[in-house]
Symmetry: D3
């Protein structure tokens, strides 16, 4: 089987604030800087979802993209668009960093997509900031 | 004098929520839709500031840009970057729409820039949304 | 009244071919070059629609944008997206150049938008090609 | 040998229509939706071609890029630019999906490029749609 | 006549250094900062040329664009691409600022384009820097 | 451990000229074409630096990015921004091609970044030109 893939681009606008209850108010300010400002700030997030092409049976392609769009819209865009990430239950005990966000999006998508087809999730937070996750490496536990 | 201009691009990340105290909770939801979601959302805002070139005396150019950068950073970027627009005192009685934001940025910049040199302020809120203000038209009051 | 404006961005993918019945087959080839190739080619068109801000009454803003989106989607995107421009009745007797397309989009939008609020329509055909129309100049007939 | 690569960007504008003779008129409409509209639509396609850097002998670099440009222009840009993909002989029996297009471009380029240097071909169809092919995986037949 | 326009995008890569003989070595360093570094630096310049659409006679359009491309390539791209702007004779006595460059490009193009059709020249120097010139205002000498 | 990564984007404007002392004046002209023009030209270079995410301990993230920014600014941006690459001591004996530049940036960064965390360095020279280096492959010497 060849190594082909399709990437679809989704977007949502959300507020967030970098802050962890494991640190004091002062430590949070030192570690996260202006990203820890009270009341938060926000971004136009871009999410790129890459799935492998399992076959070249032609008529299955468009269905695959439609289905992926439905899944990503329901699970990701509707959940985060025009919301405050810090209020999301999954972020109750972790910080809303790009690293954690890309992992959460992976974890929300992977049960919906059959056959190990999900290859990569990427999050663009600002034009200078890009996060990527390609799943746990084979024969290695995710720490 | 020729009609030349320089445009500089600045950026800030901010949270906001469309909401006005002039409307009821239900009316706010109808008028502003998902932009009225509690806890707000956010954007990577881009601000474009255009000033006229008052002369071609060459050595004055770089100074002009440095000075404009200092003004825009102090008055705009430092004020809004990594903040919640709805907490800004200027937005205490008006909604944080793009139209109001571009007017506010104009009003913050214009007293700092000599000689009617400020020609245009533009705000890009998302890739599909763009606001522009070029000052009050001559012989017309700003309503 | 101030000179403020809002610009919204829309997109459609369409086929077209530059060809006019006023010229012979050979003349068409000379005038339009590869754009005259039989069977046509296509583009990801971007349409930018700019409307003036008639007032700063805040609650009217979002309504205005929602309404503009509804009009542009119904009149422009639904009409041209995933179609062949040369089959459009309005292009039965004129060539599908960017100049003609931007004029047609203006003419389709202007009766839907009250009060002379439509300020500008622009069409991006390729990254190197941009067309703009701002209406007939005052006191001048459109030729 | 280090894992270095060069990517060059090419573009062509083409028409296409998603349709397969293996399905009925009605099935085509269900599977491909608006992409199956009669008369087709089109895109500004971007093609990214990545080749490995086989050595650091400096004077060979520019030659390599010139040569790659010549090959990609002759084999890809001249073939598809301002044409209808559905008329291409290679698409006589398969659908002009992005997956098939990226495979075809790979197959057209690979015999022209020595030494397994071709590493990746990518096609951007719209700003939200991206296809990639990196060749058949080692020890695996391409299905 | 309607207010329509076409904008074409051209590019060139050039070196330059901000420096004027009217200032001392030390003054140049203060005024131009790192842009005055010896040996210069460089940019990927983008030039946007806007011409008015004088008529809607369809067959004249493509010719107009071809002709504009020929003029801009000969007069601008070939002159500046892969050159050092400071070596250009026109910059012998003036500094290679964006303001001066956009004026020079206007002056090089305007004699080639009939009938006052040239409406605007813009130069993008970096993603944060944009220069524009629209000709001398009517009834006003260019200073 | 999962395969996550962060990519940061940096920029510098620099002059350069493709030329090698191993070739004659005439050979240089043939091999490098207009890139060999005397006095050089220049680019707005973009550098993308990708580091692996070694752990999900949340409070370490922002520190990591701050630290990476400090390293990249000190070692790369300050060194090359507004300079002529051909004057850099590291380019005394090699040509300032994109391939050599991406290797040099890797070599300047890798001793500053602990634990094999540097995963990829990429250089965008123009919008059509992209260079990437991911380190020497395991069990293979870099030629």
């Amino acid at each position: 089987m060849g190594q082909g893939s399709i990437t679809r681009r989704y977007r949502f606008c959300a507020a967030h604030r970098l802050h962890t209850d494991h640190l004091s108010v002062e430590e949070n300010r030192v570690v996260f800087g202006k990203c820890n400002n009270p009341n938060g700030h926000g971004h136009n997030y871009v999410v790129l979802v890459t799935i492998g092409c399992p076959s070249t049976v032609q008529s299955r392609q468009a269905v695959g993209i439609d289905e992926l769009d439905r899944i990503a819209t329901e699970r990701i865009v509707n959940r985060f668009d025009h919301h405050d990430l810090n209020q999301d239950p999954e972020f109750a005990t972790q910080t809303t960093t790009g690293e954690n966000l890309v992992l959460l999006i992976w974890d929300l998508l992977v049960p919906q997509i059959p056959d190990g087809q999900l290859k990569k999730v990427a999050v663009i937070e600002t034009r200078d900031n890009y996060f990527e996750y390609m799943g746990a490496a084979p024969f290695a536990a995710r720490s």
